[in-house]
């Protein structure tokens, strides 16, 4: 089985979010980047297939040179090879078209992407890849078993789970559940040493246009001050909710 894990390079959740150039660009200064958590669950599941069932695992990312540390980390965790499409990931449609090209040329049986990335939370890329290539697609995937060409996948649905039987070639939008947090791997020294020698191929993007442009970003309004009202003083609470907050 040949697996492609699509990795996006996202700010760590503890990063301070700021914008530059008149609120049109994300300010990366001092920001730590990590493998998108949903992708990391997928990568870890891919490692499981590699070790338990035998599979080749490639990772792909659409991004500039700055994303290479994240890609190298995926190699240190155990992916066999990496591909970086040398382009800024302008929007979901742009990224999906670039990745679909990688999938087409690489002949992958299984494409594991994250349900959504932690930066823009678009949640569109895996579905678009599947559509562009006419592959089967399971979104919000929390469990994946492969036996030959037959796939049993678990999908999170409103208030429960759905078990699906499908077949390769398949694209999934994965998330926690594919593996648990405690299964995530820290690259060990041997992995880091081996990652030095693994191929990280840089390819130029295909000529496609993005569907959107960012006009501006706004941060959520700062939290207001909190007023604590004594539990015995219900009248005061009602008064404030009515006259000050105008909520009731």
């Amino acid at each position: 089985m040949k697996i492609l894990v699509c990795i996006s390079n996202v700010p760590d959740t503890t990063s301070k979010i700021n914008f530059t150039e008149g609120d049109t660009k994300f300010d990366t200064n001092g920001v730590q980047f990590v493998i998108n958590p949903n992708d990391e669950f997928g990568l870890t599941r891919a490692m499981w297939f590699k070790e338990k069932q035998g599979a080749t695992v490639h990772v792909a990312n659409v991004g500039g040179t700055a994303t290479e540390p994240t890609i190298r980390k995926a190699l240190a965790i155990g992916a066999d090879e990496a591909i970086r499409v040398n382009a800024e990931p302008i929007d979901g449609f742009y990224v999906a078209q670039q990745l679909a090209e990688v999938v087409k040329n690489g002949g992958y049986d299984l494409v594991i992407a994250g349900r959504e990335s932690l930066d823009y939370n678009g949640g569109m890329v895996p579905g678009m890849i599947a559509t562009l290539l006419d592959m089967n697609f399971v979104n919000t995937c929390t469990g994946l078993e492969v036996d030959g060409d037959t796939v049993t996948a678990t999908r999170e649905i409103d208030g429960g789970k759905e078990k699906i039987s499908t077949s390769l070639p398949l694209v999934i939008g994965g998330q926690k559940g594919l593996v648990q947090e405690s299964d995530l791997r820290i690259p060990n020294m041997r992995g880091i040493m081996m990652a030095r020698k693994k191929a990280l191929t840089v390819i130029e993007p295909i000529a496609v246009t993005a569907a959107t442009t960012d006009v501006s970003f706004d941060k959520p309004a700062a939290k207001g001050a909190v007023k604590l009202i004594d539990a015995d003083n219900i009248d005061e609470l009602i008064n404030l909710l009515h006259n000050e907050a105008k909520a009731i």
Binding site: T14, I192, M193, A195
Partner: protein
């Protein structure tokens, strides 16, 4: 203990001066400490026990001989990577870092640098994987700062050496599989010998009731007519310069390690100061607390730049003993001062095991003493700049 919320400060974007691989190595060590050290370390420090279950993890993140070439089981990394690993481990606990320092710089380094090819092949891969743990015996009951006066000695018996004497304050001694021991021959010349657990007449009693480095095991090495095979002598360097060469390597790692302890104290104090309300405001809003915190981050930043430059020099093989002394002295003192200030920021909470600060503070009392005391490093700098020896 509180969950480990550590966020590493990097006030001068020093990360931009590190390579991709440096950061990968550092972040792996950082993640590992958060996952495997922070949740258990307080309990082990409280019960004064070394957490042996983390040995394999230490080996996996490359804490044992990261700069030893790959053919001997090391990772072939540079000195800055070594420093960063030490920083991250000491962020967790100086005692755990001590175990890693001893294994890397005081056991693997001398075997690699002064040993034969057979010794390298026999010991280094097992030390790198943590299958063997090592200790380093230089200090004696009557000779601490002045190791050249050592009394431990060996005699050439024809087909073997006979070793007699005792070493005190030896990290890892109670559980070590091998010890690199410094002893004088019949001509009074210092040589290194590899002593293996199980050799008759060799014992390693533990030193109890320490208030510092409680999660690291410290003890004695006692040699009562121990027969040492001749092939266990490290042949390629003798004299005091041989053990001092190991100390250079370990002190360099400590200069980085101390920054980790300081970062942890600063980060804890900063978070606490922003959350703790007194007189209607977070205590971080008062100038006195801001002074403490601002001075802490200033000193940490200076220390980071000091070791980064020292690491570059070390990579080029140009770092001098005196330069290493300066960094060890400055950075450990910086960390100890920060630990004391940070402890006060936390008020009474600062004395509990809920937070790591008091543990760091107590640990650093050993770190400022071992591998050359604070005073001795000053004398090294003094001698270097004046050309005049003030030791005796």
């Amino acid at each position: 203990m509180k969950p480990d919320l550590f966020e590493a400060p990097d006030y001068y974007n020093i990360d931009d001066l590190l390579s991709e691989e440096h950061k990968l190595v550092r972040d792996a060590a950082r993640q590992w400490v958060k996952r495997d050290v922070s949740p258990i370390i307080e309990e082990y420090a409280q019960k004064a026990e070394f957490p042996k279950q983390i040995i394999s993890g230490l080996a996996e993140i490359g804490a044992f001989g990261p700069y030893i070439p790959e053919e001997y089981g090391g990772a072939g990394l540079d000195q800055i990577s070594y420093g960063l690993i030490m920083q991250e481990i000491e962020r967790g606990d100086s005692g755990v870092r001590s175990t890693a320092s001893v294994q890397s710089s005081l056991v693997m380094y001398p075997i690699y640098t002064y040993g034969t090819e057979e010794q390298r092949k026999k010991y280094l891969p097992k030390l790198a994987s943590g299958e063997f743990m090592g200790s380093f015996g230089l200090t004696e009951p009557n000779h601490g700062s002045n190791p050249s006066g050592m009394e431990t000695k060996y005699k050439d018996m024809g087909d073997h050496y006979l070793l007699n004497g005792a070493k005190l304050w030896i990290s890892n001694s109670p559980f070590c599989d091998i010890a690199v021991v410094w002893a004088k021959n019949e001509d009074g010349r210092i040589h290194g010998l590899i002593v293996e657990r199980g050799m008759e007449g060799f014992s390693t009693p533990e030193t109890h009731n320490k208030w510092s480095l409680r999660a690291s095991a410290t003890g004695e090495l006692i040699f009562d007519n121990v027969k040492i095979p001749k092939e266990n002598l490290l042949p390629n360097k003798s004299g005091l310069g041989a053990p001092l060469g190991c100390l250079d390597s370990a002190r360099y790692g400590i200069a980085w390690g101390a920054i980790g302890a300081a970062m942890d104290c600063y980060d804890t104090a900063l978070r606490y100061a922003k959350e703790r309300i007194q007189f209607g405001k977070p205590i971080g809003a008062y100038q006195l607390q801001q002074k403490k915190l601002a001075e802490m981050i200033t000193e940490i930043t200076k220390a980071q730049l000091l070791v980064l430059r020292l690491g570059q020099l070390k990579n080029q093989g140009k770092a001098t003993t005196a330069q290493i002394s300066m960094a060890k002295r400055n950075n450990v003192d910086m960390a100890l001062t920060i630990a004391r200030e940070a402890r006060q920021v936390l008020g009474a909470m600062g004395i509990t095991g809920e937070y790591s600060i008091m543990r760091h503070m107590m640990n650093l009392e050993s770190v400022i003493t071992y591998e050359g005391t604070h005073d001795i490093h000053l004398l090294i700098t003094g001698m270097d700049i004046t050309g005049l020896n003030a030791f005796k």
